[in-house]
Symmetry: C2
Subunit: 295 residues, 2 copies
Amino acid sequence: MISFADFLEETAQSTEEALRKFLPSVDGNEVRLTDAMAYSALSGGKRFRPFLVIASAELFEVEREHALRVAVAVELIHTYSLIHDDLPSMDNDDFRRGKPSLHVAFDEATAILAGDALQVKAFEILSNIATHSDPEVRCELIASLSLACGYQGMVGGQMLDLESEHENLCEKEITRLQHLKTCSLISFSCEAGAILGRAEKPFRDALKSFAYDLGLAFQIIDDLLDVEGSQDALGKPIHKDIKRGKATLVSILGPDQARAKAQKLVRRATTHLDPFDKKADIMRAAAEFVISRDR
Amino acid sequence: MISFADFLEETAQSTEEALRKFLPSVDGNEVRLTDAMAYSALSGGKRFRPFLVIASAELFEVEREHALRVAVAVELIHTYSLIHDDLPSMDNDDFRRGKPSLHVAFDEATAILAGDALQVKAFEILSNIATHSDPEVRCELIASLSLACGYQGMVGGQMLDLESEHENLCEKEITRLQHLKTCSLISFSCEAGAILGRAEKPFRDALKSFAYDLGLAFQIIDDLLDVEGSQDALGKPIHKDIKRGKATLVSILGPDQARAKAQKLVRRATTHLDPFDKKADIMRAAAEFVISRDR
């Protein structure tokens, strides 16, 4: 079997190439907008969500070409969310992936518009027949993605996050916040393969359960890296949560217990993959990666 | 035949009711987000784009229930674009539809997120089977709407608009800007009825041509009202373009020639409706309304 690291690198490269192909280049003065879209979307990153789309699609022998289009759509949504989250009126972060955030490199208005345009580009891609020959499947992808990144998901989670600064959230409240903000899109990434493969409901549910446990573990490690990591490795400033007075599972449980919780979540995540047997080994390896990563 | 004024009022009311039904109400702390979405989406307005969706759908005897869902999707997109355009880093407008803009009534971060959530809600609605039983039709609506409001359309136009402040655009450049910024979504609104009714290409093209002429006339009158209208009637400040040094067809051609151009555009717009015969009378009346409106 191909190692997880190689698989992640390979899918990141394919995603990068595909993003380059999908990102527009225009002749008019609105080129500033498309330059801004490319600046953020092509700035590297782990491409973990595209990996999940591609790996879940392989469980159902979906053609790579189809999975890659969905992977790109998810990465565009993720990129747009980072752009808007970094804005001065939100998290006010000047660095992202080792370079100035979009609103610093360009300006605030352009950053808002680039985020808007990246979001809608994702739906343009999914609606196209090249994503899947069956329009029912395309509609299902669109319905599921729109729920994952609307007020019921990612954007709702970001609202909760802003509302929670300087509030003492309990473990349950933080978990709900992260489920909305982070896990929704990770869950769509894992479910996408099942939708493309027209899999039965139990398989979809298994992948969603895997994703929610994995996503929460992913977020705990993110918060741990904010406390214990290095700006060099992460490409963004650290100690942001403490400065902002933001409660996280790490601040509430302490680093050791938080890490133990992440490990427990990852173990539970992998049990959800049992129905897929050996076919899901690469996703099990991804779960191991999530708790061992340093960036 | 029902009068245009009555038809517009009736479709505005149906749209308002439908918006109320579609706009979420949540229990969690993210209620601030859904309150903000409702604040802007339910703040009145002419609902001219929903009218165009419903009127164009009637040309093809599409069920009202289907047309109304698309009308709501279009109005959500229009609302999100107004919210983001009003932001301090964009047009910095504190009033909209006679009350404080969303970022004034709530705050900037909430306004950005509410716009994001409204945009994705539009795609959620279109992807649902209740919009049309044929998923091919739903995908076509989504594809067409995403092109209309992406970098190739509305958002690209807003970028051009920001780039053009204090630049001396010529008539051709302003026309292109308005085609992207305003006409794209108006064009989708008119084409939507044809998509829902699975009309042949010549009918779709006729409606799009109608929309581009109508949209540009609409914008000229908007710019004239900014010069000659009253804040009371418009519900927003006037003389914004001059203050911002923004070139418009009115500032370039002068009010009289600009009005003459709008009248010419409206006459040409109605000739595109010839293939629909008497069935399109309400759309012809809409074109007349566009040049005679005072708000």
